[in-house]
């Protein structure tokens, strides 16, 4: 399962990719930040299209493991997260560091581009906003289809 409501356990992901032939493991943790657009954020609430998260994450991991000699583990947390909590963790293990770093970066970028997860920011001034929905009127959101490149479509 790529989606969880529990606190992320980086150790569990590391154990999933560790192997005697690997000489390097790159990790990325995305954590909840206390500010956005100059405003103070109190917490985030993540929601997701669960079945598609599982399907799309599996595709992203498979693509990375086919493109580089890596083993990848990935987990995203949903629900209510506090400042500093880890929302997403990616680990990529390889024989050498170059492929581990490249694959790790690729997987987090593809996740942000393709995986159906949303977050609401709860601001200190009491307002609550869906991230990405506010700044885009119809025209802005219309760009969202263009951001998914052709190879994502089947």
């Amino acid at each position: 399962m790529y989606l969880t409501e529990a606190a992320l356990d980086l150790g569990e992901l590391l154990r999933a990719v560790q192997s005697p032939e690997h000489g390097g493991i790159a990790c990325f943790l995305g954590t909840v930040r206390n500010h956005h657009g100059g405003r103070e954020v109190l917490r985030l609430e993540y929601s997701a299209y669960g079945p598609m998260v599982e399907a799309e994450c599996a595709r992203i991991v498979a693509e990375a493991e086919a493109r580089w000699q890596v083993a990848v583990a990935l987990r995203h947390r949903i629900g209510r997260l506090e400042i500093g909590d880890a929302a997403v963790a990616v680990v990529a293990a390889s024989a050498h560091r170059d492929e581990a770093f490249v694959a790790c970066r690729h997987v987090i970028e593809e996740l942000k581009r393709r995986v159906p997860i949303w977050k609401r920011e709860v601001f200190a001034d009491g307002t609550v906003e869906w991230v990405g929905a506010g700044q885009s009127g119809a025209a802005g959101q219309g760009g969202s289809e263009a951001r998914i490149e052709a190879e994502s479509f089947r």
């Binding site: 995305g30 993540y46 929601s47 997701a48 299209y49 079945p51 598609m52 399907a55 799309e56 995203h76 929302a87 997403v88 987090i108 996740l111 942000k112 581009r113 393709r114 995986v115 159906p116 997860i117 949303w118 977050k119 609401r120 869906w130 991230v131 990405g132 929905a133 885009s136 009127g137 119809a138 025209a139 802005g140 959101q141 219309g142 969202s144 289809e145 998914i148 994502s152 479509f153 089947r154």
Partner: protein
């Protein structure tokens, strides 16, 4: 009266996050005359209360895979309309 009804297919449409808020629902079953595409569903959604708040070309996923708005629909499909993604 002879029946002039075209063949009909039913799809389940899922709405999330800001789009669910805009239309006040997170899923709806729509019956469409065939052949039908994703764009036909979007047109129908725009006629619902709050549907005018959907952008011209939202992200869509058909049976858990990203698709373009010209993708054809089949009976029993699950079509999700996805607001701007914000994972990570």
């Amino acid at each position: 009266m002879p029946s002039t009804a075209a063949p009909v297919l039913t799809v389940r449409v899922l709405l999330f996050a800001s789009y669910a808020d805009a239309l006040g629902l997170d899923s709806v079953e729509l019956s469409l005359s065939t052949p039908a595409t994703v764009a036909d569903v979007l047109e129908r959604l725009r006629d619902l209360p709050g549907g005018d708040r959907l952008p011209p070309k939202p992200l869509c996923a058909l049976n858990l895979t990203h698709v373009r708005s010209d993708a054809p629909l089949s009976r029993g499909d699950e079509l999700a309309i996805l607001p701007p993604l914000a994972g990570g």
